[in-house]
């Protein structure tokens, strides 16, 4: 069974730039990708590159959970979509860092951290849809309670199997620990 191309365990690219923690290419449709064994107190900031295909017949959000807390209502997110000259925005009681309509592909960069008082936060930018329908999306999220460290991150689709084959994730850390 092929899990995808893996090149992980802290490849140090050079001083003063991001350090790759792990990369995953999804080889069959799945619902979540867990990165475990993290140490946010050492890394300070993580950066996640993601390109996701939603192969299902339903639109799906993609939650960014921390430390195994998969209760959506323990997080809030604020997003804005810029679609041509229209702008949509909302705040929701869940940590959707990304969204994809049925069959749609996207690309995102999400910066993740824990603030000085211990609140898990992320901010992301990306785009989705194709050609003349391309839209810009900005997202920001925060957990309702504090955490003492970031030890794991999970990207989980709200619809089963919405992380399609060929989806790719690369996680970087900003600081060598």
């Amino acid at each position: 069974m092929r899990f995808g191309d893996i090149n992980s365990v802290g490849d140090v690219l050079a001083d003063n730039i991001l350090i790759k923690v792990s990369e995953v290419e999804v080889s069959s449709d799945c619902t979540y990708v867990d990165f475990t064994g993290l140490d946010g107190n050492s890394a300070w900031f993580y950066v996640l590159f993601a390109t996701i295909k939603n192969p299902t017949a339903s639109g799906s959000g993609y939650n960014l959970f921390v430390n195994g807390d998969t209760t959506e209502t323990n997080y809030y997110n604020q997003w804005i979509n810029i679609d041509g000259t229209s702008r949509n925005s909302d705040r929701e009681n869940r940590p959707w860092a990304v969204y994809n309509e049925a069959g749609v592909k996207n690309f995102y960069e999400v910066i993740i951290s824990k603030d000085p008082d211990g609140y898990f936060r992320y901010v992301g930018k990306g785009n989705r849809r194709e050609g003349s329908n391309v839209i810009l999306v900005l997202t920001a999220g925060c957990k309702t309670a504090t955490i003492s460290n970031i030890t794991s991150l999970r990207i989980q689709s709200s619809v089963s199997g919405a992380i399609g084959t060929g989806s790719k994730f690369i996680l970087f850390k900003a600081r060598r620990g």
Binding site: V21, T36, G59
Partner: protein
């Protein structure tokens, strides 16, 4: 129902396929929430498009009344442009 995931241990580089059991009720709940969110997004987009259309029409009417434009943005010249 079992949902499939990938677990990546960044310390060892090991990636494994893992499964979590969720109840049919939970599965249906998630599906319904996703459908509801999709519907809300479509409605929001339609509302925003309509709001923009209405605002643009009103703005053009006001600017025309004020004599600043003659008919709008679609290829028709403003009074200032015509003078030039």
């Amino acid at each position: 129902m079992k949902i499939k995931g990938l677990r990546v241990d960044v310390r060892t580089g090991k990636v494994e396929e893992v499964f979590e059991e969720i109840s049919d009720e939970e599965y249906q709940k998630r599906l319904e929430e996703a459908k509801k969110a999709e519907e809300e997004m479509k409605i929001r987009e339609l509302i925003e498009a309509k709001k923009r259309e209405i605002l643009e029409r009103l703005a053009k009417e006001e600017l025309t009344k004020e004599g600043k434009i003659e008919g709008g943005l679609n290829g028709e010249k403003s009074r200032r442009q015509k003078k030039i």
